[in-house]
């Protein structure tokens, strides 16, 4: 969801649970389904809107599929609902790339960024699986921690859920390295959904334009024909610094010795400006690399975020 998305405090529509409520659900599977149901109430759920006219196979109809794509002749023959699949759809793999560094584990209220990324990733995996597409997962910190290649085999989505639930945020971040690996691992055009807080992914003194290896990696992926979407996830504390007291701040990631003793209210205004500029820089960098940029706070409803993402994709809008 964009920054203009609905806040978590708004009354939830049925199926639209906020992150804290989602955390109470038993499994990621259930959470993913809930998110998808919430996101798709009255909406088409295709992640890959097809453009090719080259028919490849039939697939059994699932709720959310476009009615116009039902093959009525097949229905007449088999008395079951089938939708047509085209070349673009069948060729597309989806990679869910999640930052699992220690900074993603920051949580003061609600859920951590990593949990939130898990909800979104699980929902997307569920959606992809339901459409019979291949979904893969890559968890990284300072290097690749887990990699599940995309597959349509049964149990693939459950494996994705299992890996997500088992992972704990730890270690330093090297997103550029992970995306480099991903580039080497796949030679097929894929949808790469990258979720990270992007903290410490830019040089310490950025100028007006974002430099560093990560934007370069994103451009490379796009150059290879991948469709890349970046989910920039931040905790509300990392947007507003809403503290009242004298606080001794310490870095979260291993080996990070940075500390600061400060009256948080003194810093709040400057921090808000710095955080907004940080997001703006990444938005610009993504726009330049033709990468879809989506910012989300961890107090926003995941279903809303997912819904906005899918709606924009269906309209062909990239933010």
């Amino acid at each position: 969801m964009s920054e203009g998305g609905k806040a978590a405090g708004e009354p939830a529509r049925p199926g639209l649970l906020d992150p804290t409520e989602l955390a109470r659900l038993a499994s990621l599977d259930l959470r993913a389904r809930t998110i998808v149901e919430g996101a798709f109430s009255g909406m088409h759920r295709n992640l890959h809107p097809g453009t090719s006219v080259e028919f490849t196979e039939h697939r059994e109809y699932a709720p959310g599929d476009e009615i116009r794509r039902i093959d009525w002749k097949a229905v007449g023959r088999a008395d079951r609902y089938y939708v047509k699949r085209f070349e673009d759809e069948t060729e597309m793999h989806t990679f869910l790339v999640l930052d699992a560094s220690a900074s993603m584990g920051y949580r003061r209220r609600g859920v951590s960024k990593f949990d939130y990324a898990g909800y979104l990733a699980g929902a997307l995996a569920y959606l992809v699986g339901q459409q019979g597409d291949a979904a893969g997962l890559l968890l990284f910190a300072e290097n690749v921690r887990s990699f599940l290649p995309p597959s349509t085999r049964p149990g693939q989505i459950r494996e994705v859920f299992r890996l997500l639930e088992a992972a704990q945020p730890a270690g330093r971040t090297d997103a550029a390295l992970a995306l480099g690996h991903l580039g080497e691992l796949t030679d097929k055009r894929s949808l790469i959904i990258f979720m990270s807080d992007l903290l410490d992914c830019e040089p310490d003194e950025p100028g007006g334009e974002l430099r560093g290896p990560l934007p370069g990696r994103l451009r490379q992926l796009r150059a290879r024909g991948h469709d890349v979407a970046l989910f920039h996830l931040l905790d509300p504390d990392e947007v507003e610094l809403p503290f009242d007291d004298l606080i001794f701040f310490e870095g979260m990631e291993p080996g990070d010795t940075r500390t600061l003793l400060a009256q948080a209210p003194d810093l709040a205004e400057a921090f808000k400006r710095e955080s907004a500029a940080f997001r703006d820089r990444w938005r610009e960098a993504c726009l330049e690399a033709s990468v879809e940029y989506r910012f989300a706070r961890t107090d926003e409803r995941p279903a809303e975020v997912l819904r906005a993402f899918l709606a924009d994709r269906q309209r062909g809008v990239r933010l």
Binding site: L241, L246, D256, D266, A270, F278
Partner: protein
């Protein structure tokens, strides 16, 4: 720095409290593992300079406040050496006498002596201990006391001192010290002192010290001049006389100049200004300590108007006496036409003989012309300010008509009677002008008592009734009218009754109650009728001492001039008598600084005069009258100028033997006296400032 209660300085330990709180606060800081350290540190870098400065200022302000409190309670003070009188450090009753006379207005360096004296008086007031009763007087003549009763409130005295300004009045030290002594006589304190801040000019001490012979308070003099010699040059006098040789309206301005320096001066510039415009300039050489004169001839225009004539010399440190003013009215150059109705071959039997002599002696500038009735035509009245008809049988109709126009336009007419007067013809032709119709002549029947030393005349005679000095014509006579009431009247003309009107008034009456001298306002002019002769035929008045001033004042009043040259030029501090004319109820005096003084005629007081005494500024004072209907009329004849008392120009210093104080002689090796300066007020002010800073900083931090 010293402290009255040094034990309280232990409280200074409180100054560490803000630091302790700061350190404890640091320790109690909540630790937080935070992911966006990079953003946080960038933010901190951006505001750290301002934030740190604010934190430091806040800490300093709080430390300052905590330290200031015990310091204030410890009553800190400093000891300073002083050149002010040490006697001021004792508990006492004290009267401060500040010399505000004109000479104190001279410049010495960047400030005037008066400013210097006031500064020292202020310092003295601050140096006094708290248990001192104080009063404040000024030393110039006629000044009002600033604080005339002993008062323990120093602030009030300080305020009165600050409101004091230097005047142009002369000094009267005797009066000031006498008043100070009287004020102190009511004090029960053993120490009673007068502190006189002056330049020790000799002028002003002519009347002695004014102190009582016994029990006089101690006098301490603070010499604001520091004994520095003073060189001065001054315009001492400016006289203006008619100068016919300069043409119509010609005047001669005589200036008396003086040099009070040891070196004299060559080529001293002297300027003549008329109505503020410089019209002539000359140069004079003055010997050391000598006098000089400068004469200017000038022709005034606008006859009948008043002019301000000023003589100015090149300036020195004392500006007040570098110029001097004179007030000139062209109409004062009396041009009198006497119509001799009963010419005689013997001069001293001729009526104009006495009348003209009185005019010429009383008003030296008067131009008197005598004509016989046949020579008088209506044109004769042209360029004349006063016409005197003496024992004229009857005025021609043409002359009567011309006289009506003449008086209505502002001219003066004096009428005296005699054997030749045809009362019926007068009453017919001069009815509009006569204050009262003429009646029959009356010869006195009783023989009055003989006064010692007077020339005995055995004819029966009457005298004048006691005079009413409230009338301007008689205002300058002695209380009982000496020289006037002694006159004897053997014969006089009775006047027919006339209705009482505001325009008519009786100036003199005979013992019998019959009017002797009556006046009447006609238009802008006046007519005066004397019901007897102005020679010795009917009265011996012309040979009485009162005759000259009577004729002089009558002439002045008739031409609208009520004051003489001396009265129109006052010295600063002198009072001026202003006269209400007719039914005027209010007089306004516009001072040189444009402020306006208003004098009202009191209904309960029949006097037509009012005293104006606020002549403490040099320059021209303009008088205006306000009639009951609100009409404002300029009264240039009452205008006057105020000049400096020439004694103030003399820089001679008071002889030490005449000083009323004991001149302190410092003993060799003695330490200079010290006085204590309390510092807690300053500290309290600093603390309030720090509190204010602390509040602002805290507020700013909360806003952020």
């Amino acid at each position: 720095m010293h402290f009255l209660a040094p034990a309280l300085l232990f409280g200074l330990l409180a100054a560490f409290l803000p630091w302790l709180v700061h350190l404890i606060g640091k320790r109690r800081a909540q630790p937080l593992r935070f992911a966006a350290m990079q953003l946080l540190l960038r933010s901190e870098r951006r505001i750290s300079a301002r934030r740190r400065l604010r934190e430091i200022l806040l800490l300093v302000a709080r430390t300052g406040v905590a330290a200031a409190l015990p310091l204030i309670f410890a009553r800190p003070f400093a000891e300073r050496t002083t050149d002010l009188p040490v006697a001021s450090l004792d508990p006492q009753s004290a009267v401060i006498v500040l010399d505000d006379s004109a000479s104190m207005g001279r410049r010495a360096g960047l400030s005037t002596l008066f400013d210097r004296a006031r500064d020292r008086a202020r310092s003295l007031l601050r140096q006094f201990p708290s248990d001192v009763d104080l009063a404040l007087l000024l030393a110039s003549a006629g000044s009002s006391p600033k604080i005339s009763e002993l008062h323990p409130e120093r602030v009030r005295v300080l305020e009165a001192l600050e409101s004091t300004v230097c005047s142009a009045r002369p000094a009267d030290y005797a009066g000031a010290l006498r008043n100070a002594s009287l004020i102190l006589s009511g004090s029960t304190r053993p120490k009673r002192r007068i502190y006189l801040f002056t330049d020790l000019q000799a002028a002003g001490w002519e009347s002695g010290t004014g102190l009582p012979a016994e029990g006089a308070p101690e006098v301490i003099i603070d010499d604001a001049s520091g004994g520095t010699p003073w060189e001065n040059r001054a315009v001492l006098d400016v006289g203006v006389v008619p100068a016919p040789e300069a043409g119509a309206g010609g005047i001669a301005v005589d200036a008396e100049l003086a040099d009070f320096s040891a070196a004299g001066v060559r080529g001293l510039g002297v300027s003549l200004k008329v109505d503020g415009v410089s019209v002539a300039k000359g140069f004079v050489d003055l010997a050391a300590g000598g006098r000089g004169h400068k004469r200017f001839l000038h022709r005034l225009t606008n006859e009948g108007s008043a002019h301000e004539v000023e003589v100015e010399i090149d300036g020195d440190g004392f500006r007040l006496d570098d110029h001097r003013l004179a007030h000139v009215e062209l109409s004062r150059t009396l041009r009198v036409l006497i119509v001799n109705g009963d010419p005689r071959t013997t001069r001293n039997e001729d009526e104009p003989f006495f009348f003209a002599a009185a005019l010429r002696n009383g008003l030296p500038s008067a131009v008197v012309t005598t004509k016989l009735p046949d020579d008088v035509s209506p044109e004769s009245l042209y360029n004349v300010t006063l016409v005197a008809l003496l024992n004229l049988a009857q005025p021609s109709e043409a002359l009567a008509a011309a006289l009506v126009r003449f008086v209505a336009a502002g001219g003066g007419l004096f009428i005296s009677v005699g054997d030749r007067v045809d009362a019926t013809a007068w009453n017919e032709r001069m009815a509009r002008l006569l204050p009262q119709p003429l009646g029959l002549p009356r010869t006195a029947s009783a023989l009055p008592g003989q006064h010692a030393g007077e020339i005995v005349d055995d004819r029966p005679a009457e005298r004048l009734a006691p005079i009413d000095r409230s009338h301007p014509v008689l205002a300058n006579f002695a209380e009982h009218g000496e020289g006037l009431v002694s006159a004897r009247f053997f014969k006089y003309m009775l006047l027919e009754p006339a209705p009482e009107t505001p325009e008519r008034s009786v100036i003199l009456r005979y013992e019998s109650g019959a009017p002797a001298m009556v006046e009447k306002q006609v238009g802008k002019g006046r007519v005066m009728l004397l019901s007897t002769t102005v020679d010795r035929e009917w009265t011996d008045l012309p040979i009485r001492t009162g005759f000259l001033p009577l004729v002089r004042e009558a002439a002045r009043r008739l031409v609208g001039v009520t004051s003489d040259d001396e009265a129109a030029s006052l010295r600063a501090g002198e009072a001026r008598t202003l006269v209400f004319a007719g039914d005027e109820q209010r007089l306004e005096v516009t001072r040189p600084d444009s402020s306006v003084w208003i004098g009202r005629r009191e209904q309960t007081n029949p006097s037509r005069t009012i005293l104006y005494s606020e002549t403490d500024r040099l320059g021209t004072y303009h008088v205006r009258s306000v009639s009951p209907d609100g009409t404002v009329t300029a009264r240039p004849e009452q205008d006057f100028v105020v000049n400096l008392d020439t004694r103030e120009s003399n820089p001679a210093r008071l002889d030490p033997s005449q000083r009323p104080d004991r001149i302190a002689v410092a003993s060799p090796g003695a330490k200079p006296p010290k006085h204590r300066v309390e510092l807690w007020h300053s500290l309290a002010a600093v603390m309030i400032g720090l509190l204010l800073c602390e509040s602002l900083l805290t507020l700013r931090r909360r806003r952020h």
